[in-house]
């Protein structure tokens, strides 16, 4: 069997990233768009950790932790906006979020 190299991880990360991008671009449900963003962030994390392993350097892992922190903040604020929006418009459809001010 082929030994597992950094490349393998990068391919998985790329796949997750592309799936995330497709989700963000095409889905209409805001919750799922936010989840797709989490997918993208995970793909980035996987890359960072894989490179950290490749170079024997922990900077990548520390970056990954910062990204997790960022993801938590993003999820909290994003879902907060979503609820505030839902309270006013009673929809969670991105296509209907088309006004600058409401």
């Amino acid at each position: 069997m082929v030994p597992i190299t950094t490349l393998h991880y990068l391919v998985v990360a790329a796949a997750l990233f592309v799936l995330g991008v497709i989700g963000v671009l095409t889905r209409r449900n805001v919750v799922i768009v936010l989840m797709s963003i989490e997918l993208i962030l995970n793909a980035v994390n996987l890359n960072l950790v894989a490179f950290s392993r490749m170079w024997g350097n922990l900077n990548g892992q520390v970056f990954a932790i910062f990204i997790v922190v960022d993801a938590a903040a993003e999820a909290a604020v994003g879902l907060g906006i979503l609820i505030a929006f839902f309270r006013n418009k009673e929809t969670i459809n991105v296509d209907e979020i088309d006004l600058l001010k409401w």
Binding site: A84, F86, R87, E90
Partner: protein
């Protein structure tokens, strides 16, 4: 909550013709949540159905749907003779059957203008007060269980057994006793009755302390009951609420003192009252009432006179034409009987004023603005028996 859950209850909201406070627009779909509590629900003490209108967990309003246990007791009375109807009243408030019988017998006696002999009155007082303790014990156990304390239920049921044993020895039945007859009592006390009752007296005082040790100063119990289900004395009076609920709101009103019946005028006892009218005060009032009942029983059993137990009552009970309202202080409040007689052997009309039914009205104003968990506590503290509410 999600509207998935809401859709199925649209028909329930149309049932409600109460003008419930419109909920604030919330982020929860801006719809209030309507929950059917009961009739199959562990905390509604039988088959009470409460439609709760909730904002999250906050109660905006309630509506009680009753009648699931309706047996037409008042209608049955019109088709039975006065004597035959006597056992039926036991089935209304089945945890305080003796009180029900006492109220009915006294009402008919009053209508016929006969009086029970002194000894019968004393026996009546002893049994009724024993029954008051038993009823309060059952209330305490189930109320504590509703709030989440399992153990008091078993303690109270263990101790209630002693009282039920006396009932069983006296009249052969434990729950629906049919202890009294119109004009007095049918049975003389059994040998050792007084000893048994005195045993109960010495047995119970420490047991009540035991319940109090479990609950009275328990932090969680205090937090769950203090300032929960507050009702003012004026509101109580306006709604006709009676019994411990009324007294816990600071109104000193007890029919045993206010218009003494049986032999109550001869005993020395106090009417415990509360100040805040919250669930905790109602708990304290009922605990104090159990102690007062012990006092009454002690005086009664020590001063029980000798003599006949049956008054001069004709074989066929045929009260004169007229009407009468007689009420007694049942464990749950004022239990009244209104009897219209057309001179025949059967009542023309008999109307019962059950305390639980009237007290249940207070549920709505007591729980508005509280949480779902408090609804359970308040239903428990009202001490309702559905047999009596629905009749």
């Amino acid at each position: 909550m999600s509207a998935r859950a809401n859709d199925s209850t649209k028909d329930v909201s149309s049932l409600s013709n109460l003008d419930l406070e419109t909920p604030e627009k919330t982020y929860l779909d801006s719809n209030e949540l309507i929950i059917n509590m009961g009739p199959q629900h562990p905390a509604t003490h039988g088959v009470l159905r409460v439609i709760l209108k909730l904002d999250g967990e906050k109660v905006l309003g309630t509506e009680c749907v009753i009648g699931y246990l309706h047996r037409g007791v008042e209608k049955i009375a019109e088709n039975r003779t006065y004597t035959m109807f006597n056992p039926y009243v036991d089935r209304m408030d089945y945890v305080a059957a003796v009180s029900n019988g006492l109220g009915y017998c006294e009402a008919v006696e009053k209508l016929m203008n006969v009086e029970a002999p002194a000894r019968a009155k004393y026996i009546r007082v002893i049994l009724t007060e024993l029954n008051r303790i038993a009823s309060h014990q059952l209330w305490l156990g189930t109320h504590a269980l509703d709030i989440g304390a399992m153990t008091p239920l078993f303690y109270t049921f263990r101790d209630r057994e002693e009282i039920l044993k006396i009932f069983e020895k006296y009249c052969g039945a434990r729950l629906t006793t049919h202890a009294f007859r119109i004009g007095g009592c049918q049975y003389e006390t059994y040998a050792g009755f007084e000893k048994d009752v005195k045993n109960v007296l010495t047995f119970f005082a420490p047991k009540i302390d035991e319940y109090e040790a479990l609950l009275t100063t328990n932090r969680i119990w205090l937090e769950r009951t203090k300032n929960v289900g507050v009702i003012s004395g004026a509101d109580c009076v306006a709604l006709g609420v009676t019994g411990p609920v009324l007294r816990a709101s600071g109104v000193q009103w007890d029919l045993r003192k206010a218009q003494p019946y049986a032999a109550y005028s001869e005993f020395d006892f106090e009417i415990p009252i509360g100040t805040n009218g919250d669930t905790y005060d109602r708990y304290l009032v009922r605990m104090a009432e159990m102690r007062q009942s012990l006092r009454i029983i002690e005086q009664a059993v020590n001063g029980i006179p000798e003599g006949p137990i049956m008054g001069k009552v004709p074989k066929v009970i045929k009260p004169p034409v007229g009407e009468i309202y007689h009420s007694i202080e049942a464990p749950k409040g004022e239990l009244g009987y209104f009897i219209v007689s057309d001179g025949s052997t059967q009542p023309y009309r008999l109307r019962v004023r059950p305390p639980s039914f009237v007290n249940l009205q207070a549920l709505d104003i007591m729980v508005r603005g509280l949480l779902v968990a408090d609804v359970v506590a308040v239903i428990g503290t009202l001490d309702i028996v559905l047999g009596e509410v629905d009749r």
